[in-house]
């Protein structure tokens, strides 16, 4: 399990610069994945992930544990994403080519299933991309990052009830949009553990 994030932060602040490296190893994939889901670009995800950790490296000396380290990291990443989205000045879009190299779901899946999964993956991504920013962030943090409600409240700096409202509205919109395309989650489907 290794040292807690907070212990590594304390070690870094005490002069053990290598402790930061462990934090990078621990969180890089998650952060990069979250950024990818917001921006839909592999290159930008890697770029902003680097930037997130560079900012964290610069700021960690004055980090006082006002939030969990991971929440603080997500905050940095989200702020960078918002800046990037604003600079794009257009709504987010999903490149079909980019979505094309989505990892195959199962080893045992048939070619047809693979194509169908890929198509569904793309449609879900597009539906989430079309959500208002606040709802999209709530959905990504909850559904794909597996953060708890109190953690998301910390990251977004809003009350837990607000997080739940945004999430519920987002889920509601998604359901409608996907249903319009004939995609209906089977109601008795077991939900895979996040």
């Amino acid at each position: 399990m290794g040292p807690l994030d907070e212990e590594l932060v304390a070690a870094f602040q005490g002069g053990d610069v290598a402790a930061f490296d462990t934090l990078v190893e621990r969180w890089e994939r998650k952060i990069q994945g979250a950024i990818y889901r917001i921006l839909h670009s592999d290159d930008e995800a890697r770029d902003l992930c680097q930037e997130t950790f560079l900012k964290a490296f610069r700021g960690l000396g004055s980090f006082r544990g006002q939030a969990q380290f991971s929440s603080w990291l997500y905050q940095i990443a989200l702020n960078l994403c918002r800046d990037r989205m604003r600079r794009r000045k257009t709504r987010t879009w999903v490149s079909l080519d980019e979505m094309g190299d989505a990892a195959p779901a199962d080893r045992g899946a048939s070619a047809l299933e693979l194509v169908e999964n890929r198509d569904l993956s793309r449609r879900v991504a597009a539906a989430i991309a079309a959500l208002p920013e606040e709802q999209r962030e709530a959905i990504i943090l909850k559904e794909y990052e597996g953060r708890t409600f109190p953690e998301i409240a910390e990251i977004l700096d809003v009350p837990v009830s607000t997080v739940k409202t945004r999430l519920y509205r987002g889920l509601d919109q998604l359901r409608r949009r996907l249903e319009q395309q004939g995609i209906r989650g089977s109601s008795d489907a077991a939900v895979a553990a996040p």
């Binding site: 290598a18 190893e25 190299d101 879900v124 089977s186 939900v191």
Partner: protein
Amino acid sequence: MECESVREQMLDVLYGEADADSTARFERHLSVCSGCQEELANLRGLRFTLQAWTLPRQRRSVRRFAPPRYFWAAAAAALVILALGGALALAGFEMRFTRGPVVVRLGGAARGTTVAPRASDELSTVASQNAVRTAATNGLQDEVLLQRVSEMIRQSEERQQLTVRANLTGFEQRTARQRRYDLARIGAGLSYLDGRTGQHMARTTELMGYVLQASNRREP
């Protein structure tokens, strides 16, 4: 009305975050409300659908950000420089970005010693001979970053000079620590730049080596 009031509990249950009390409360409502039963089932189905969005195979950004041994090499070099002496000739340490190569050199700002300029000259010669050539593709962003790095160096230097003037041991210890941190940040900035422009990290270490070399000569 009642349905609205248990919505938060429904989300807690849906994501496995409900405590015993709210689970019990929600289940009492669920047993008499077919609407909420259907809603919960729908949300479960939706969650299942959402899992279909998979990430592309991730290429780790750390490869460009800096693999550990490289990333910290630059910071370590900075620490060595610090160990070589408090009044290190980082005065006027300057980084320039001119659309093409990044040039790091010592000297420029006035510093009242006779030795420092010599060391500065040496370094600037070495640095310009071995100017790190970077692709200008990320020009603007790199320029901003360079400005930030230069600013960090300047601030660090200001603190250092303040120490020299004040000559207070306690203050010196505190600034030394801050300076160590500053230098590590500078190292990180350099390696970040390097990563962005696709250079080998060895270049950064090399660069720090020049600084080291020059400061070595200055304070034998």
